[in-house]
Amino acid sequence: MQNLIDFISFSDPNVRYVVLGNVLLAASAAMVGAFILLQKKALVGDAVSHAVLPGVCAAFLFSGSKNTALMLIGAFVSGWLALITIDYIAAKSKIKKDAAIGLVLSVFFGTGMVMMTYIQQSGNAAQSGLDHFIFGNAATLVGADLVVFSILAAVLLLAVGVFFKAFALVAFDKPYAEALGYPVRRLDLLLTSLTVLAVVTGITAVGVVLMAAMLVTPAAAARYWTDNIRRMVGIAVAFGVFAGLSGAYISYVAPAMPTGPWMVVVSSAIAFFSFFFAPRKGIVPRMYMQRKNQRVIVEENTLKMFYHLGERNSHFDGMRSLDELASTREVNKALLKTALRRLVAKGLLASRDGQWALTDAGHQKAMRVVRLHRLWELYLTKYMDIASDHVHDDAETIEHILTPELERELEHQLGYPDKDPHDTEIPK
């Protein structure tokens, strides 16, 4: 606990640098990353982050010192060069984009490695810290870096703010944006430049190898929580910032722990949680909904049995035994029993001495299900020319999902009929 308080109080200037640096980098990366993700360029982000390495090294070789501004320019140039090369190779040869990305990524990075070992051989004392660019080391952040980061983050924020609508449209529907007269090509180049800027902001703390994750992972997670692009960017930034803070905190508590990889692990954990549990889109809620729907189907089918039995002697509220119910159609008795129990709990059935009968509410509901089933059967025979001895199976599932609006439209199209294709009455 004391750790946490110390951490939050910012009493240690190093903590302050690391925290602010991480927050700035995570926020900028996530913001740009959202558009990269929507444009389906996640792997391009990976390539750019690897490809800045030779630029950084070149700047170092040129200036002989760790001049942040110069390194940023170097990184910017090589990141850009990598992207143009990828596009050029994919456009001008039969090499597909994925191969072009992998090729450029590994060759640029390899070039960076050669330059780096060359610098190390040269024995330049100032080279210490250069190799941190590969895996990142947040502890090396100093005040001067923060000033540069803040400027970069401000530029990114401003650019994304100004071009938000344009970026959103290009990401959503490129041909349409083109038709509207948007300078799509230039907007793409701008987004590319912003990507490189975001990567550059990140490499000191996270390193080039894992920077792709800070771009893409928070955005991928955010996609599961909203369909609104503004909210998505906001959520992505929030996730990124949380991951950044967690990374800083973990390496504060356990100094041996690397900040960058922990940021990536935390944001991946958020992403995995989102894939599984985000409402509506997550795997688990979707499975739950499916289960619930399945229960609804079984319950409604059970009510239908009561109605069918009732139709035989126009005695809809008679008591029925399990065997009697099971005689109407092929069912799994265990499943039927649970459905009966649930229907009793819902007040749609009344039970006495191991027998069941429809309540008034149950009768209404059963009538509606049978009605929808017969309406749909009629629709199938009338509009889809499906033979009347085949329609029963097809109607089986649809009756459970027809909404009142669809029901009204169905009735209207059929001209408010009384009889179904088997000439039985459609209840009103």
């Binding site: 039969k94 079984v298 499943l335 889809m384 499906i386 459970h400 439209e409």
Partner: protein, 262 residues
């Protein structure tokens, strides 16, 4: 209107197919007689290719079944041939024309064995039938659209099957190729082979097909061309989409509804 046949070569029974839960084909039910050239016709998005793919077992069925020669597909695969859409493959792939045609023999050769001289002879013969024997050693990237289609046809011929399913074989081919292909299909049909073709050009329907399957998300009609290819039927198939069907499909997709009770 659905005309059924006795002892059908293909029986599609009550087939429903969904993409991510949204049904795209509803209760399709028809039979085909042996030795006919059947066209599958319908507007864009009617599910023509989907029908072919589901017959070939490439898409899981939501309900219904398909029987070929009165058997499930698994048991008669060697008698069934499939020609995918030309655009579905990468024509920059580093293989020669003969290589592609030889792929038609893979099902017969089986695993772990290579194609032999007999297979090559058959492949060359098939190339000859489509008028492409001069191109055997040519790389597939150098072919025109019509030539690509002929190569795909030769590959299907090399399968020596009894029923052929072809997805848009006339799409984007020149007139000469189209005539050559239809001539070949007629020869095959007279040798008692059955051919099912997805087609989109209504002009040539009457000339090409003796059986017609009219599709628009559901089966509008199936039967001999002269009975099915009527103004009334075409009006039914092309006269707009069944809005209620697509609305119900949307609801199923959104609410993750299962297509079965259990």
């Amino acid at each position: 209107m659905i005309v059924h046949t006795q002892q059908p070569v293909l029986e599609v029974h009550d087939l429903t197919v969904s993409y991510s839960r949204k049904p795209v084909l509803w209760g399709v039910d028809f039979t085909l007689p042996t030795g006919c050239i059947a066209g599958i016709v319908g507007p864009n998005g009617a599910g023509k290719s989907t029908l072919l793919k589901s017959i070939m077992g490439l898409i899981p069925l939501s309900s219904g079944y398909v029987k070929l020669f009165d058997r499930p597909l698994e048991e008669v695969r060697h008698r069934v041939s499939y020609v995918p859409q030309r655009e579905s493959v990468d024509w920059d792939f580093p293989v020669s024309v003969l290589d592609v045609v030889l792929m038609g023999r893979y099902g017969k050769v089986g695993l772990f064995r290579n194609t032999g001289t007999r297979d090559s002879a058959i492949a060359l013969d098939c190339l000859d039938k489509v008028g492409m024997s001069a191109f055997a050693k040519r790389q597939i990237s150098q072919l025109s659209g019509g030539q690509q289609q002929r190569v795909f046809l030769a590959r299907a011929l090399a399968q020596e099957a009894d029923i052929y399913f072809m997805d848009e074989p006339f799409a984007g081919v020149d007139a000469a190729t189209e005539q050559a292909i239809i001539k070949l299909l007629r020869e095959m049909a007279s040798a008692n082979k059955t051919i099912v073709v997805v087609h989109h050009d209504l002009q040539s329907v009457r000339a090409y097909f003796d059986w017609l399957i009219l599709l628009n998300m559901h089966l509008v009609a199936a039967g001999p061309t002269d009975q099915v290819f009527t103004e009334e039927m075409m009006q039914q198939a092309y006269g707009g989409r069944l809005s209620l069907l697509s609305q119900v499909g949307d609801v199923m997709e959104k609410r993750a509804f299962p297509s079965r009770e259990h």
